[in-house]
C-alpha cells in the first residue's frame, strides 16, 4: 500500500469568469517525482500555487499526511517551492539566501553554517557563499534557489518550471542533476512544466492537463505508448492520428477500418462496434518492410509511395501516401549498417511496404 504524501480532492478555482482548475483530484505518492504537464493556461501553475498556499481554491481540499492544509498560509505548510525566476533575495549573499529558512527557525549559527555548506556541496557551488545573486549565472542561481528550499528538509518540494529560463545545454544538465538530487534525498517532487520531453525524462508519473482538467495520469512510458486521447497523443511526442470506425471486437484486439483499410488495433475495452474513433500510432513504430526480410511477421501491412523525406541528424522522417485519404508519418534511426540502406531523398517516389504491430495502434475515443 503506497503512502500518499499529498491528497488533492476536487479542487476548483476560477479567476473571474475564467475556469483555471476544474474538479482536480490526485493522490501523490511519498518520494515520487510527478510532473504537471500541459500547455500554457492549462492550470498547472495555478494548482501548484494552491498547493503552496499562494492561492486559495474556491472549493476542494488538500491533505498532507492526512492533515487538511487547505486553509493554512504558506509559512505554515510543510512544503517548499522553487520559483520560475528563482526569486533570490538580492540584498543577501548566497549563504544568507540559503540560510534564510533556518535563520527564521532560530537555529544556532554553527548548525546553520554546517547545513549551508552541506547544501553548497550538494548543488556543487562550494565557495560561492559570499557572492550576491547578481553575480551568478542562470544555472547557478537556479541551484541556489534549489538549495534554499531543500535545506528545510521538506517532505514535498514544488517546482514551477524551474529550468524555463536556461539555455538548452544547461537545462539538460540540470534535468539530470535535479533527478539525482531527488533520488538521493527521497523528497517528493511536484514539477510543473510545459516541456513534454523534460517531463518524460524526469518523471515517475506525468499528470497531463488541459483547460484546467486532468487528461491522463500515467508513468512516462505508458503515457507515451498508450495515450488515452488525441490530445495526449499529440502533446507528448509526435503521433499519427487517423479517423476510423470500429469493425469488430475480438478477445485480444479490435478490428478497425481506416479509409477502407482493415487493420488490427490494440484492445480498447470501451470501444463499440461501428463507433467513430481515432487511431494513433507513433512514427517510430511504423517499420519499413524490406522485401528480403521474412523473419519478422507484422500484424498489419500497408503499401504506399514515399512522398517526403526529411533528415534530422540521427533519425530520418518520411511520409508515405497509402491512398488518397491516408497518409502515414514514419521515422527510423540512421544506421551505419551497410545492409540497411537508409532512406534518403533519392527514395522519393518509391513504393514501400510498411508494417506495424497491433499493440502500437491505439484506439482513442476522443
Amino acid at each position: 500500500m503506497d503512502k500518499y504524501s499529498i491528497e488533492i480532492k476536487n479542487i476548483h478555482k476560477n479567476f473571474g469568469n475564467v475556469v483555471a482548475v476544474k474538479d482536480f483530484s490526485l493522490n501523490i505518492k511519498d518520494g515520487e517525482f510527478i510532473s504537471l504537464l500541459g500547455p500554457s493556461g492549462c492550470g498547472k501553475t495555478t494548482l501548484l500555487r494552491i498547493l503552496a498556499g499562494f492561492e486559495f481554491a474556491d472549493s476542494g481540499d488538500v491533505f498532507m499526511n492526512g492533515k487538511n492544509i487547505s486553509n493554512l498560509p504558506p509559512y505554515r505548510r510543510p512544503l517548499n517551492m522553487v520559483f520560475q525566476r528563482y526569486a533570490l533575495f538580492p540584498h543577501m549573499t548566497v549563504f544568507e539566501n540559503i540560510a534564510f529558512s533556518q535563520f527564521l527557525k532560530k537555529k544556532p549559527s554553527k548548525e546553520i553554517e554546517a547545513k549551508v555548506n552541506e547544501m553548497l556541496r550538494l548543488v556543487q557551488l562550494e565557495g560561492y557563499g559570499g557572492r550576491k545573486p547578481n553575480q551568478l549565472s542562470g544555472g547557478q542561481a537556479q541551484r541556489v534557489a534549489l538549495a534554499r528550499s531543500v535545506i528545510n528538509e521538506p517532505q514535498v518540494l514544488l517546482l514551477d518550471e524551474p529550468l524555463g529560463a536556461l539555455d538548452l545545454k544547461i537545462r539538460k544538465a540540470m534535468q539530470i542533476e535535479l533527478k539525482n538530487i531527488q533520488a538521493k534525498l527521497g523528497i517528493t517532487f511536484i514539477y510543473v512544466t510545459h516541456d513534454q520531453e523534460e517531463a518524460l525524462v524526469m518523471s515517475d508519473r506525468i499528470v497531463l492537463m488541459n483547460a484546467g482538467m486532468i487528461i491522463q495520469v500515467d508513468g512516462s512510458k505508458n503515457i507515451y505508448f498508450h495515450p488515452n486521447s488525441t490530445f495526449s497523443a499529440t502533446f507528448i511526442g509526435e503521433s499519427n492520428i487517423f479517423p476510423g470506425k470500429v469493425d469488430s471486437l475480438l478477445s485480444d484486439h479490435n478490428l478497425v477500418q481506416i479509409d477502407g483499410f482493415k487493420v488490427k488495433a490494440r484492445l480498447n475495452s470501451e470501444a463499440t462496434i461501428d463507433g467513430g474513433v481515432f487511431l494513433a500510432i507513433r512514427p517510430e513504430k511504423v517499420k519499413r518492410i524490406k522485401s528480403a526480410d521474412t523473419t519478422k511477421a507484422y500484424d498489419n501491412k500497408l503499401i504506399g509511395e514515399i512522398t517526403e523525406v526529411i533528415f534530422f541528424g540521427s533519425i530520418v522522417k518520411y511520409t508515405v501516401q497509402i491512398s488518397a485519404g491516408l497518409k502515414i508519418f514514419a521515422q527510423e534511426v540512421i544506421s551505419d549498417d551497410q545492409d540497411l540502406n537508409n532512406i534518403s531523398e533519392s527514395n522519393i517516389g518509391d513504393k514501400i511496404t510498411l508494417g506495424f504491430s497491433k499493440e502500437d495502434l491505439n484506439i482513442l475515443l476522443k
Binding site: P74, A87, F89, H91, F100, R148
Partner: protein, 284 residues
C-alpha cells in the same frame, strides 16, 4: 590608425559647467571665505577668525534656533516618512489598479504653488479656521485651539503636508523593485507577513526611504517662508535669521558661517540616519 575617443561631449557640457561654476560654486566659495571674516558697520573686514563660528554657539538665540530648526526638520522628516510609507506600500501592493490615478493626484499637488498652500494652511489652522470650526460645532471644544497656528506645531503640520508628496515618490519608486515573487519566497521559507516585511520589503525599499527622509529633512530644516507665515514667535527658525544677516542685519560673514554650520550638522544627522537604517537592515 587608432581611433581617438571623441571628447565632443565635454564641449557640449561646457556651457552648463560654466554657468553652474560661475553662479553656484564660485559664490559658495566666496561665502565660505566670508564665514571666517568679520564685519563692521560699513564694510567687511578680511581677517581670518573663528569668531562667527564661536558666536553662533555662545549666543543663546543662535544656539537655540539652530537646534530647534534641526529638531523640527528631524520631526518633519520622520513624520513624512512614517506617513508616506504606508501610502506608497498600499499603492504598490494593494491598489494596483488605482496606482496611476493616485500618482497623478499626488503630482498635481506638487505642481501647486508653495505659497498658496502655506496660506491655505494658515486659514485651516486659524482660530476661526476649518479645524476649530468643526471641533466647536461638534461640541468637542469650547474655545478655539490656539496652538494650531503661530507655533512650532503649525510649522510641522504645514510642512509635513507640503513635503509628503516629495517623500511618497522616492519610496514608491523603490518599492517597485520589490517583486512580489520575493515576498512569496520569504513566506514559503517560513516568514509570516510581518517578518517578510522587515526582512525583505523594508530593506529593499530603504534607499527610497532614505531619499525621502533627506528631501523632507533638508527642505524643512532650512525653510524660512513657512515659519515666517505660520510659525509665530515660538516657531522662529534659522532660515529667517540667516536671511536677516544677508538683509537688514548686514552681517554676511555671520550668515555664511551659520549656513555652513547648518549644512555640516545636517550632513551629520543624515549620516546618523543612514547608519541607523543599516543596523536595522542587518540580521542579528
Amino acid at each position: 590608425m587608432a581611433i581617438k575617443k571623441k571628447r565632443t561631449h565635454i564641449y557640449l557640457l561646457l556651457p552648463l559647467y560654466a554657468y553652474y561654476g560661475l553662479f553656484f560654486l564660485v559664490p559658495l566659495g566666496i561665502l565660505f571665505i566670508y564665514s571666517f571674516w568679520l564685519t563692521s558697520t560699513t564694510k567687511i573686514i578680511p581677517i581670518f577668525t573663528l569668531h562667527n563660528y564661536i558666536e553662533m554657539f555662545t549666543k543663546e538665540l543662535y544656539r537655540t534656533i539652530i537646534f530647534r530648526s534641526l529638531y523640527i526638520g528631524l520631526v518633519i522628516g520622520l513624520l513624512c516618512v512614517l506617513l508616506s510609507y504606508p501610502l506608497a506600500y498600499a499603492l504598490t501592493f494593494k491598489y494596483k489598479k488605482l496606482q496611476d490615478a493616485i500618482l497623478y493626484l499626488i503630482l498635481i499637488s506638487l505642481f501647486s504653488n508653495y505659497l498658496v498652500r502655506v496660506y491655505a494652511w494658515k486659514t485651516i489652522l486659524g482660530n476661526y479656521g476649518f479645524i476649530n470650526q468643526i471641533l466647536t460645532y461638534l461640541g468637542i471644544i469650547k474655545q478655539p485651539l490656539e496652538f494650531l497656528l503661530y507655533s512650532k506645531t503649525a510649522v510641522v503640520i504645514t510642512l509635513v503636508f507640503i513635503l509628503v508628496p516629495y517623500t511618497i515618490l522616492p519610496i514608491f519608486s523603490s518599492l517597485q523593485n520589490v517583486s512580489i515573487d520575493l515576498i512569496e519566497a520569504a513566506k514559503d521559507l517560513g516568514a509570516n507577513p510581518t517578518r517578510a516585511f522587515f526582512k525583505i520589503t523594508l530593506p529593499l525599499s530603504m534607499p527610497g526611504v532614505t531619499t525621502g527622509f533627506i528631501f523632507s529633512f533638508i527642505l524643512s530644516a532650512g525653510d524660512y517662508v513657512t515659519p515666517q507665515l505660520v510659525g509665530g514667535n515660538s516657531g522662529l527658525m534659522i532660515g529667517r535669521i540667516i536671511s536677516d544677516q544677508f538683509g537688514q542685519s548686514y552681517n554676511w560673514p555671520l550668515g555664511s558661517a551659520i549656513s555652513y554650520m547648518m549644512i555640516f550638522l545636517m550632513i551629520i544627522i543624515i549620516n546618523i540616519f543612514i547608519w541607523i537604517t543599516r543596523i536595522l537592515k542587518l540580521r542579528s
